[in-house]
Subunit: 124 residues, 2 copies
DNA sequence: CTTGCCAGATTACAGGCGTACTTTTCAATG
DNA sequence: CATTGAAAAGTACGCCTGTAATCTGGCAAG
């Protein structure tokens, strides 16, 4: 509950990509990705269990882990903090910042315009 | 150099708001803001000194601290990390996320449209 | 019924962080 | 020159994190 650490989030990402996963599967995806020993992955899984961020249960022949919190919720709390701390909670300055640092691709621009149109459409 | 911690960033913010500041001034702004004892603020200042994030020097009668790194640079590394970790480096999904969570104010929308227009204008 | 495997718990340990006090070292002032 | 006052360095300490190994208890297979 009290915030997922950086390393722990790697486990979560794996589970959000594909759910459920066995311990074996988590270890074989997340381990190599991060250069972690199996024991390390198990520790992180244990901590996530204790935090209530994931749950494990045996289902049809295997033992599977599932995330208990939604990625969107996690993303929300992570990005809200940054937005508040760095940009006084305003989205536009954040985007402006990325624009200044050449992080705005043509694709982003296209998607942003579409997004804005859609929002205005809905609001109408 | 190796990343400014959350608590340390409060000191930096004070120095970015107004530079230079004396130890006294830092303590009297940052301390109450965060409920920190003077000793705590001094520790954070020391760590920032050791990290090379700020510098202290005596100038006309007082001892003043100045930031050695620009806020823009710090904001950049902070937000880049989040963008990469959470949104695969794409800005549009980030904005979409905020839109879905009602974090997009009318003001933001207006500013975003202006920003996009300006970018397209420049690119032309 | 026994044995072995695996999930979960326990233990380990160093480094960073938040919080804070104490000691040392200078520079200025009397 | 001596004292003082503040800056900087050192000490402290508990918690979280990253990294990892080991112990334990229950279920499944033989």
């Amino acid at each position: 509950m009290q915030s997922i650490s950086e390393a722990e989030s790697r486990i979560m990402e794996a589970l959000w990509r594909k759910t459920p996963l066995t311990a074996e599967q988590i270890i074989s995806t997340v381990g190599p990705e991060n250069g972690w020993a199996p024991a390390t992955v198990k520790t992180l899984v244990t901590r996530l269990l204790k935090k209530g961020a994931i749950a494990g249960a045996k289902e049809d022949g295997g033992y599977f882990y599932r995330p208990l919190i939604a990625r969107a919720d996690w993303v929300q709390s992570e990005s809200q903090g940054l937005l508040d701390r760095l940009f006084k909670g305003e989205v536009a300055p954040l985007v402006a910042h990325f624009a200044e640092h050449r992080q705005l691709s043509a694709k982003d621009l296209r998607q942003l315009k579409a997004l804005i149109s859609k929002i205005e459409e809905d609001g109408k």
